[in-house]
């Protein structure tokens, strides 16, 4: 394996920006899929393709790390950030898959609200990742992700409460929707985790 001493920071920044855009695209696709379910033209395979693209970008960042002596910031931080962004897409894909797995007949309003928050959070993450070079203008996006996470917490609490308001709600509906609400919440939380990793990198390097 060839090890280069020449800094190739541009490639790292470009890959992180691509990974952020990919996460945003996945969130938009899933929001669309939930909103139009069950009559949507968007298939889970399209979401899966974006998940594979996320894996490819993460692998490419790791490959660069292993072949470059000089990196734009600490290796551990690059590993941590790439993994955290990849997890966002994985969680989005996992939540979307439940629509088919549980044969969901129609969406619940609360899941649509979660999807909108997810798009907002991944949008802020994508903006933050596109500004890694120089670490400027990132803080506002990290604050936006935190707000999304708070909003996501509020929605998921209300959503789960709605399932238990009437004791005669179908147990199967409760099982299905509790899982889906929690999966979407995990995707929003994954954005917050990535924002934390990114925030620490900014503090160390800005």
């Amino acid at each position: 394996m060839r090890l280069t001493l020449v800094p190739q920071t541009k490639e790292f920044y470009g890959l992180f920006a691509e990974a952020g855009d990919n996460a945003l695209e996945a969130a938009k696709l899933v929001e669309h899929r939930f909103r139009e379910h069950p009559d949507t033209a968007i298939r889970q395979a399209q979401v899966k393709t974006l998940e594979h693209e996320g894996d490819r970008l993460t692998a490419e960042i790791f490959r660069l790390l292993n072949t470059h002596y000089v990196t734009p910031f600490d290796r551990e931080d690059i590993y941590g950030l790439a993994g955290a962004v990849d997890t966002v897409v994985d969680q989005i894909e996992a939540a979307s898959e439940l629509l088919d797995l549980y044969r969901i007949e129609a969406p619940m309003e609360q899941s649509l609200a979660q999807c909108r928050v997810l798009v907002e959070a991944t949008g802020a993450l994508a903006h933050a990742l596109s500004r890694l070079r120089g670490f400027r203008g990132i803080d506002a996006h990290l604050a936006a992700i935190k707000r999304c996470e708070d909003e996501g917490d509020r929605i998921v609490r209300d959503a789960i409460a709605a399932l238990f308001e009437d004791e005669d709600v179908s147990p199967r509906a409760i099982i299905r929707w509790k899982d889906i609400f929690e999966a979407l919440e995990q995707a929003i939380d994954a954005c917050d985790t990535a924002a934390h990793v990114l925030g620490n990198i900014v503090v160390k390097n800005a």
Partner: protein, 231 residues
């Protein structure tokens, strides 16, 4: 609790039969699906409990299609969650197994019986609209409306209530048999599909939305001179 017919061989059905006996549930035990057909056709059973060991699945499916208003419940002599999931997917409304106590079994049966739509027994007619739940068909004049079971039951509930508006929660309870969770859009999605199918056939009947409340069926007077008729 309506009468039951228990389809299966000894000793698979012995325990369940004893529980039904103790619970005072009128039931008969038959070995073959063909015999169960006679019991159901004679009106002596509303609930058909099928032991999982009953091999003739095609005959059971035929009976279910022919008697859509009956309740079909599966009985597993040995508990198996994966098998129970398969049976639910095949259309059984409840799956009972030998690990359940007598009280639980009877409660589950009674609960399943209560989920049966009360209006699903007799055909409903509203002008040219005719919904025959027993045979699983709905039509407008001579034209058959190709509806799913949920859509047909929604239309039937709306027709039976016409011209009153039914709240979403009422529709959900009537068709799905459970309470609607706040935020559930199942009724809206099915009404949208039903509305599209009706519009493709006629403009003389429409499903009107009352925002924030629910839906009602609108049929002009020249089409519907009389109120809903149960045949």
């Amino acid at each position: 609790m309506p009468g039951c017919v228990l389809v299966g061989r000894e000793p698979d059905v012995r325990a369940l039969s004893a529980i039904l006996e103790d619970g005072g549930v009128e039931h008969s035990v038959v070995e073959r699906v063909g015999e169960a057909e006679h019991v159901v056709a004679a009106g002596r059973a509303e609930v058909v409990v099928v032991a999982d060991s009953t091999a003739d699945h095609d005959a059971i499916d035929r009976l279910r299609r022919a008697q859509p208003e009956r309740l079909f419940v599966a009985w597993l002599p040995h508990s198996s969650t994966s098998r129970a999931a398969q049976l639910f997917r095949r259309g059984f409304v409840e799956v009972l197994d030998a690990t359940m106590g007598g009280a639980e079994l009877l409660a589950r049966l009674a609960n399943a019986a209560a989920r049966r739509p009360a209006h699903a027994r007799e055909p409903v007619r509203l002008g040219l609209l005719r919904i025959d739940a027993a045979h699983g068909v709905a039509s407008w004049g001579e034209t058959e409306l190709r509806l799913t079971r949920r859509e047909r039951e929604l239309l039937e509930a709306l027709a039976a209530a016409c011209p009153r508006t039914l709240r979403r929660e009422e529709l959900y309870r009537s068709v799905w048999g459970y309470a609607m969770a706040r935020g559930d859009r199942t009724v809206d999605v099915n009404v949208t599909r039903l509305r599209a199918k009706l519009t493709a056939v006629t403009h003389d009947v429409a499903i009107a939305t009352e925002p924030g409340v629910g839906y009602r069926l609108e049929v002009p007077l020249h089409v519907c001179s009389a109120a809903v008729t149960r045949l």
